[in-house]
Symmetry: C2
Subunit: 244 residues, 2 copies
Amino acid sequence: MTDIETTPLFRKLSAFVSLSEAEVTVLKELRQRRRTFTAGRDLIHQGQSDQDIYLLDSGWVCSYKILPDGLRQIVDFQIPGDFLGLRSALLQTSDHSVEPITDIEVSEVFVADLLGAFARTPRLATAVLWAASRDEAMVVEHLVNIGRRDADVRTAHFLLELGARLALVGLGSKEGFACPLTQYHLGDVLGLSAVHVNRVLRRLREGGMLTVHKGQVTFDNYDRLIAFAEFDPTYLDQERPFLK
Amino acid sequence: MTDIETTPLFRKLSAFVSLSEAEVTVLKELRQRRRTFTAGRDLIHQGQSDQDIYLLDSGWVCSYKILPDGLRQIVDFQIPGDFLGLRSALLQTSDHSVEPITDIEVSEVFVADLLGAFARTPRLATAVLWAASRDEAMVVEHLVNIGRRDADVRTAHFLLELGARLALVGLGSKEGFACPLTQYHLGDVLGLSAVHVNRVLRRLREGGMLTVHKGQVTFDNYDRLIAFAEFDPTYLDQERPFLK
DNA sequence: ATGATGGATTGATCGAAAGCAGTCTCTGCT
DNA sequence: AGCAGAGACTGCTTTCGATCAATCCATCAT
């Protein structure tokens, strides 16, 4: 069995709460029913109700909405350590679809089990709730990003944020990260055409700031990039004193 | 004392749950400490923590973020019956600012009182939680709106959504609604310049779809507008069978 | 080797929205 | 009455990003 302390969720939550022995055990028990899904086949459909919660163990997933004319807007990507359908299950609404970008491994979590775990370990509940609120803050940040930043800054900001999220679960650093997204995915999340994404990436590369090549995002000059993107590197990983 | 049954919050929640005598009483007790604020002065500042929750009784408010270069993105407007700072208080983060657009009247609600009310009346808790999730769904819808719809459709969609929300609390109908927003406000929420908003509104007016004049939004042809904006009129007010 | 496919890349053109500048019309003020 | 200011409106020019159309380059299947 995998050592729990290397799992993405554990790493993520540990950044905000130091988990006790008992809490680790509870976390472990949640991850029993493992399942795998293949890339491209929708996991959750827009309008579906009463679905399960999944904890993403490996691979990448995206949540999106489709417009009548076929245009797609990706709301967010989920990476290892993220929950899928948490909010939808708690609130019984699924207003968007969820599609695996790569083959993924998930742990199926029953709502009742999760609520039981929360009841036994309030600190765990707080930490998970915090993670959920962080996800929401990110959606708001994407709104600002798309509404008010130009394509270059917007793209840089998004990739930095993604890097920060990945770093939190041990899958990235200031150097860069492995990234399975195509330029079409980037277009759909940034509200740009894939062609334009290509030009933007070229400009960022020629500006010596970042390189995207062969499924690898490399931050060529992290500090310059931060400044260019107006990115606040603390906004995702600051400590929460009240939780410590 | 105001008759509770005419208050916006009561009307909104009643659309989803039929509240019992006891629940109405609890609701009434929450609305004790009335306060007023004047237009323009920020209620909540970005970064602030540990603030109160307010229930908006009358007037309009907007939540926004400011970028370093001074550009502003309004995340959403709040109208009578909406909570202010609910999420921030529960989750101890305030990542945006809140500013009254008009003079407003609010009821200050202490977190402890609200939680107490939830404990005594679970159905009320569910209803409020539902309202919160609806707010979140709206933010996602705005993301799609800004990311993938052109200015005209985007504007029409937004005004229809606003109309639907207002109708829910008795402040609007298929005919239109009173609206204190300037074209600058509309620009900031739609990710457009105020000048362009003006042109968009002219096109919509000349298309016989809607008129904005003197603080009044009039839907000149509701059905045509719905079709043009690809607006789903049920998405905010559909019944929740599990709550009835 | 030979295609077939999906993604990346580049060029050329077009259109939507921004930016700038100025006018107009209220409303409130003294 | 006269003025000041905010918001609404319009014309002109520029810029950003979309769209259309190729080409290129891996990987994979046969």
